[in-house]
Symmetry: C2
Subunit: 304 residues, 2 copies
Amino acid sequence: MSDYRVTILGSGSALSNIQTFHSAQMLKMNSKYFLIDAGEGVQIRMRQHHQKMLSINHIFISHLHGDHCLGLPGLLSSLGLMGRTAPLFIHAHADLEKVMGDMIRYFCADTPYEINFVPYDPYHYEEIFSDRTISVTTIPLKHRVPTCGFVFREKNKERHINKQMADAFEVPLAFYQNLKAGEDFITADGKVVENERLTTPPSHSHSYAYISDTAYLEKIVPLIEGVDCLYHEATFLSSDKDRIRKTLHSSAAQAATIAKMANVGKLLIGHHSSRYDSYGAFLEEARTIFPETYSAVDGARFDL
Amino acid sequence: MSDYRVTILGSGSALSNIQTFHSAQMLKMNSKYFLIDAGEGVQIRMRQHHQKMLSINHIFISHLHGDHCLGLPGLLSSLGLMGRTAPLFIHAHADLEKVMGDMIRYFCADTPYEINFVPYDPYHYEEIFSDRTISVTTIPLKHRVPTCGFVFREKNKERHINKQMADAFEVPLAFYQNLKAGEDFITADGKVVENERLTTPPSHSHSYAYISDTAYLEKIVPLIEGVDCLYHEATFLSSDKDRIRKTLHSSAAQAATIAKMANVGKLLIGHHSSRYDSYGAFLEEARTIFPETYSAVDGARFDL
């Protein structure tokens, strides 16, 4: 199983049922786990799909519609029962704490860990998380309430040292970190050895973009350019013009158009309206524009 | 299908999973539907088991532990999406509105129906609902937070008129209601005709008792005496003495003892701790004391 993958915990919109829970995804980037949105029942789906619940340290909530965050209180309370002690960070619109903070504190009164609400500004593209290897930035979207998508990017990795060549030029161990960072090496007699002769390119830096509820929005394209995998909501089919306009959601064709323009590796579509009996038509519509499209159904797992 | 039945929507305790959602039951009494407790995902289970979500007018919440009420916001929000207009009444400890009221109003801001919180006093046995045919009373329990069970009883029904006999004694139609209520009839010449000669006994008045989280509590016995069907929590097996004492929950044997003392028709047990792999031992323990015991597993349906 890949170390870089996303598991769809819930893919439904509006009215959930046993096949399609509300929005939630678990992203694994190497050894790190991120929960993106937390619809009702997310804790149930996590257990069902054997997700490492206690390994999540950061939760990202795209917007404050119930189908994207009502699973939080139950999840947080269960993490307490499971004995979590590490602090947890919830990145969301500032209203989340105002609206759910008291309730969460009431139902999690005995939990042995700290819950931190970290508000982000939903109107500006900004980095809201960064550690040694991963960076997460917001992507302001266009919906009926302030909404953000998120891009998860591995930071540029180090170049790999070509040990044989490094030995040949007598590069001291102390300089290895500089080599990995891309520096050229200067020998004792002042000769410049280009970095490319001493190293091979770094491994691929993985990336994932999550575009939650939004109207068609071309200005996000440069922000998600070239990601390995893009999730983009596709609530309606193109024919449902009135609803697309009124609800500020996207069609499958619009999701595919964004994917194509951004030149992403593959596209996942979900959040289909429960008005449609089958999801085949969504895939069909999207694939005419962007063939590498897949259905983000509950329980599906995609390598980045 | 019986007009008097309870459907188990969730039967789990503490950590829910796809087999056992958190506590919730749907009670049908003739043409009326009552929701008892509302654990996370209750709206999902209702759709799964084809329950008439829009027919519920009254919800009864036994206590404010998350596993008994965190499904409320999602359910209430979905009822709005489904176009509910009839007012809804939520009977619960007064803290429910304090803790979840703002959040529910936030996520249900556009709902086209009225949500009424009706607080009850969790320390006194009292009638909290009554209409022409049904009465609901609280049963104060003993748990770590204020908790109540509920008894649902059909009111005494009318006697059935024996038309042939009523005609023979020339009972006027205007007196039929008095006959149904049990009055004797006095003929024109002053002769008393006993009611029993003119009527047959009323149909059975159905009853259901829901005993939520509680330590063993004998004083509830007279309050649930003779109900058709009793649900009583059974979180542990008798051998788990320490946990029973510390958590203020009951064992399967204790639930069965209460059922036997109250001389109920049948006993349903649930809320089993997730520490146990299988639930067979619970049934076994209870049936040695009260043979008519059944497992209230998710999706099970019992006629009263």
